[in-house]
């Protein structure tokens, strides 16, 4: 078999193994799940108000946005975190010492995180659909839309996670990425319709994939009448495809360049130096 095909197969195996490791680790699962769970509990308890202009509870309206935030956190942040951690412990260097190893490593990481993100999304989505009134789990279109939006969303998000993980030298500086995602949450209309924000902030929000992922998920899960609360009074599916697709294209073009640069710099002494830094970190 040709080496590339073998590497893809190995990558799939890595993805499967690491997916299993995450899903059987209660601590790690809690780490990813607490944020959306807390957000949903808060929206359930205090989301009695109505969406402006539509007779629909704010709490249920926020569910898809929270799911989008959750997907961006687990997908983007999870991948970035995994990449920096794997450089600290030498996993990436091990891949570099193996023929076609870095390629398989990236394939495995991305597939593994895509699977984890999907699974964790389902883990939050199912109870949310049961608890919140007004969502539309009964339509076929709900699940079709959910599927393509999620696939496109992952294609947009995961390369960003890869790039950020490759750019940041250690797990400490990833705090910046958390901040970035928090910023995205604020301007993406996660908890409250984006139309309530000033116009210029709406534009910033629409520049990032979290908004489009949220919009797509709202179009899947909410009654069609809720489109009235969105920009332009529409679910804007075409624009969603274009926006998420553009992020995916740019991400997939840039990620290999950044990853190659990261892999080139990897050596035993750079791993040792990074570990030294970690050891000297005040605890």
């Amino acid at each position: 078999m040709n080496p590339r095909a073998v590497a893809v197969r190995a990558g799939v195996r890595r993805g499967r193994i690491e997916f299993g490791q995450t899903m059987t680790n209660a601590g790690e699962l809690m780490g990813w799940l607490w944020l959306p769970v807390v957000a949903l509990v808060v929206m359930y308890a205090f989301g009695d108000g109505s969406v402006p202009g539509v007779d629909f509870p704010l709490g249920a309206q926020a569910v898809p946005g929270i799911l989008a935030m959750h997907a961006v956190f687990t997908g983007l942040m999870g991948l970035a975190l995994a990449l920096t951690m794997d450089r600290e412990d030498g996993t990436l260097l091990r891949a570099k010492a193996t023929p076609n190893g870095v390629f398989a490593y990236v394939v495995g990481k991305v597939l593994g995180k895509a699977a984890v993100t999907t699974a964790l999304l389902v883990l939050v989505l199912v109870p949310a659909v049961l608890v919140f009134d007004g969502l539309e789990p009964g339509r076929v279109s709900t699940w079709l839309t959910l599927s393509w939006v999620l696939v496109l969303g992952l294609l947009a998000i995961l390369p960003i996670g890869t790039i950020l993980g490759a750019l940041f030298g250690n797990t400490q500086s990833l705090g910046f990425v958390t901040l970035l995602i928090m910023g995205m949450v604020v301007v993406s209309g996660v908890f409250y319709p984006i139309t309530a924000l000033p116009g210029w902030l709406q534009w910033i929000g629409q520049a990032f994939p979290m908004y489009w992922l949220g919009l797509g998920l709202r179009s899947a899960l909410l009654p069609d009448a809720l489109a009235a609360a969105e920009i332009g009074g529409s679910w804007r599916h075409l624009e969603t495809v274009v926006a998420l697709g553009a992020w995916a294209v740019v991400g997939f073009a840039l990620a290999p360049v950044v990853l190659r640069r990261m892999a080139r710099r990897e050596s035993g002494s750079s791993v040792a130096a990074r570990r030294e830094q970690v050891a000297q970190r005040p605890s």
Partner: protein, 297 residues
């Protein structure tokens, strides 16, 4: 791959005038190193001598500043994946894949070598070879230091490499783990190995040939016996003459002592003749080179 012009068996590793400079510091100042097929060569030197830098250049992980380097006939800077598949790499203190299980990792890594190598180690056989039989389903993060190191060697061997690099393989080992590790390396006879160490005893035990690297230069190269012979002819003669102490290093100690007594008779006191051990040779070489380094600096 290029063939050698002459018909001698080509070297596995060959460097000529290898230099490495970080900023304004020269770490390697023209290293000439040769490793023949099947040879086990130890790169011995104090910390900071440039051993790891040398090995990282040979592994293709680091670009050199100057000099010619051939590893398995290829310049490591141009080494492709097929070349990489012929190398086994065991670096200092791996901590990767802590959540994976021993067999899981070896079986995963063995996949990659299939397209390149005629024979790849069967993971279970390999686990037995390195003595981890009882630990195949253990999480790697739970292995002891010595077990972890043996796993690292197993990973290095997965593709049945033509050349195995071992960088400081026994740092932090207790004597028992060290002895077991040495036995493991000896069981690999036939494999060409380049190992680095700052432990002379280890070099002596494992290597066919010892290359001593000090401050980025090769100061000695030979078998343990050859290195010892370099100064073994010379012995240290220590004595007191009329109350004054003398220490001399002489080639013919017996003759020297005979003449000493013939000339001074009973005035000679506290005579001591000592042949240097390999360790004395090594320490003397290191001291010498470091001192000349200070003078030129």
């Amino acid at each position: 791959m290029k063939t050698n012009d002459d018909q001698r068996e080509p070297s596995v590793v060959e460097t000529r005038g290898l230099r490495m400079r970080y900023g304004s510091t020269d770490v390697l100042k023209g290293v000439d190193l040769t490793v023949g097929p099947g040879e086990v060569v130890a790169l011995l030197g104090p910390n900071g001598a440039g051993k790891t830098t040398t090995i990282e250049i040979l592994e293709g992980f680091r670009k050199r500043s100057a000099g010619d380097v051939r590893v398995l006939g290829v310049d490591p800077d141009d080494g492709d994946e097929a070349w990489r598949a012929r190398l086994g790499v065991v670096l200092q203190s791996w901590r990767d894949h802590g959540r994976w299980r021993v067999r899981e990792l070896l079986s995963y890594l063995s996949l990659f070598y299939g397209p390149y190598r005629e024979r790849v180690f069967d993971p279970d056989e390999l686990i037995d070879v390195v003595g981890l039989t009882g630990h195949r389903d253990k999480r790697i993060g739970t292995l002891s230091g010595g077990q972890r190191r043996r796993l690292d060697v197993a990973v290095g061997l997965v593709g049945r490499p033509d050349l195995l690099f071992l960088d400081e393989p026994t740092v932090g080992f207790d004597p028992e783990a060290r002895r077991e590790f040495h036995e493991l390396v000896r069981r690999l006879s036939g494999t060409t190995i380049l190992l680095t160490t700052h432990d002379l005893t280890e070099a002596e035990k494992l290597a066919d040939r010892i290359v001593i690297l000090v401050s980025g230069r090769v100061v000695a190269d030979g078998t343990a016996a050859e290195l010892a012979a370099r100064i073994a002819g010379k012995a240290e003669v220590r004595y007191r003459l009329d109350g004054e102490e003398h220490v001399l290093s002489v080639a013919d100690s017996t003759g020297y002592v005979r003449e000493l007594f013939a000339e001074h008779g009973k005035a000679v006191d506290d005579l001591e003749v000592r042949r240097p051990s390999l360790e004395d040779v090594y320490l003397a070489l290191v001291r010498e080179s470091e001192q000349s380094e200070l003078v030129t600096a």
